[in-house]
Amino acid sequence: MSNASGPGRPAASEGTEASSFDTRKHTPVQRLQHFLHGNPAAVPMIVVVVSVVVFAATIGPKFYSAFTLTLILQQVAITGIVSAGQTLIILTAGIDLSVGSIMVLSSVVMGQFAMHYGVPGFVAVIAGLAAGGLCGLINGLLVSLVKLPPFIVTLGTWSIFGAITFIYSGNETVRSQDIDQTAPILHFFGNSFRIGHAVFTYGVILMVALSALLWFALNKTAWGRHVYAVGDDKNAAMLAGIRTGRVLVSVYVVTGLICGLAGWALIGRIGSVSPQAGQLENINAITAVVIGGTSLFGGRGSILGTLFGALIVGVFSLGLRLLGTDPQWTQLTVGALIIIAVATDQWIRKVSA
């Protein structure tokens, strides 16, 4: 009666004869593939480890030092945070092209409130986060109430939020020194602590904590199950009694808030508030999610995969820079990397299906 080893075997294998189907020997390779199939974040994790090892062997201690490795973490923190939000959206079979615009808009709101409206720093932060949440709400309502394709909605709001940022800020960059004097809380995520040579900014902690929190929410709460269900088959989820509209709106709002957090962390990272920042953050985030093994068709993927996906890009960017590669060649390599990562993932899934 054991069909534990053949989960795909349907009703017919329930009888005693089923055993005859399960006696095929599994080679170690097959077992590895099976493991990889069961753990979607495993492939990107392995790629991270392998690439660190390869770069360390090639470049030596300059790369393989606590300082450099934690530097990579700092460099991917913003993208890591934004792509955590992007993962939620893509899990619902959506896509959000406006994440970068929301992030910058939030940071600009924080800067303007703190510098020009004379409110305390934490009020400015709350205003910025609220702006992010509001942008997410607009996206979410257009997607769930007006039922427009997310690609279109966020293609539109990408322009709109971007334009609002420029108009609202008057293209003004707020200087780091001024922030330090008026509202140092805006720099919170830029502060760091050291453990030996390793340097961790609070932005890095935020990225890791946020990923852990979302992992918990996605896997251990009803909301998380609903997010997967909506992305998997929206109509089935609706018929099964899930309020799909609410789930969608909540996902876009949460992502908006996460982008707001990213905007706050961005101020910490670059010091100043610049309306010009983050113009490619949407592409970076989608790249991280995709390399992390989340399906653009929704319902399949993991937040940890995304974290490793962002790290892969970070490791490659820094590694190639330290190797002295030309920026154009780095761009070429990252392009090839995206394709190779997804092809590998696909191959593993196929063989271990």
Binding site: A11, E14, F216, D232, A236, G299
Partner: protein, 269 residues
């Protein structure tokens, strides 16, 4: 037809009834001023040609589509469901023709979709953490109670199940949670002979527990095996209600396809 006579000529009151339901999809009239009645404890079969509007009828009753006009009553009280959730909360469980399962989620997750059990204490209250163990235990019990399947791993994804096993999960979910009514839309369409037999057994089990059942099926032998009354649907409306003990399957089919006029006393059966 008599869109007023909610009491009809039966002594008991219908548990679930509808009057003058209409639903248009653009230029297609899926429901055309139709009535519907389900009495306590009975198995009501709904038969009709492809596209007659059977699925739309039960979707309207279960909140999956909102009718353009008409009235629905549960235990005599008018109700208006605008989402499947509301019908479910009112005790009406439905097995849809399309099953409504999420392939990537586990069997237990699917059984509890939208009514998950949370952990006791702060983990559940504050962190809203799921009680996986309780859910899996319950799911396993329900599935084996019904004798429907012998699934080893209740945590496996529904997409790894065969069509028959999936149908079993959907049926078990409805049977486990129904408080008032179970509706099944073609629960045996994709099933083999053995699997179909099990679903029919389940229908008898549920009936024995006192719950009324609506069964939509193209399979006349199945219908005549379990139904107490047969609602015949044609061109978007109920044209007759017949008693399977007094009508032959071929006559029922003839009425359904329009080859034969519905009996005078058709609606009184």
């Amino acid at each position: 037809m008599d869109s007023e006579g909610f009491g009809m000529n039966t002594t008991t009151q219908p548990i679930l009834s509808a009057r003058a339901l209409t639903k248009n999809y653009g230029r297609v009239t899926a429901l055309d001023n139709t009535d519907f009645d389900l009495y306590p404890g009975e198995v009501l079969a709904v038969i009709g040609d492809n596209g007659a509007g059977k699925s739309t009828l039960i979707k309207a009753i279960s909140g999956a589509v909102v009718p353009d006009s008409g009235e629905i009553r549960l235990n005599g009280q008018p109700v208006q469901f605008v989402s499947p959730m509301q019908a479910r909360d009112a005790g009406i469980e439905t097995v849809y023709q399309t099953l409504a399962l999420s392939p990537a989620l586990s069997i237990a997750d699917n059984m509890f979709l939208g009514r998950e059990i949370r952990r006791k204490g702060v983990l559940g209250k504050l962190f809203r953490m799921l009680d996986r163990q309780a859910m899996e235990k319950f799911a396993r019990e329900k599935l084996s109670d019904l004798g429907l399947l012998t699934i080893q791993n209740i945590g496996q994804a529904v997409e790894t199940l065969s069509g028959g096993q999936r149908q079993g999960v959907a049926v078990a979910r409805a049977a486990a949670f129904a408080a008032k009514v179970i509706i099944m839309d073609e629960p045996t369409a994709a099933l083999g002979v053995k699997e179909s037999g099990r679903v029919l057994d389940l229908i008898r089990d549920v009936k024995a527990r006192g719950l009324p059942i609506v069964l939509i099926s193209h399979n006349m032998p199945h219908v005549f095996e379990v139904a107490d009354r047969i609602h015949i649907h044609r061109l978007g409306r109920r044209i007759a209600v017949v008693d399977p003990k007094t009508i032959s399957p071929s006559d029922a089919v003839a009425i359904m396809t329009g080859a034969k006029a519905p009996p005078e006393e058709g609606l009184a059966a």
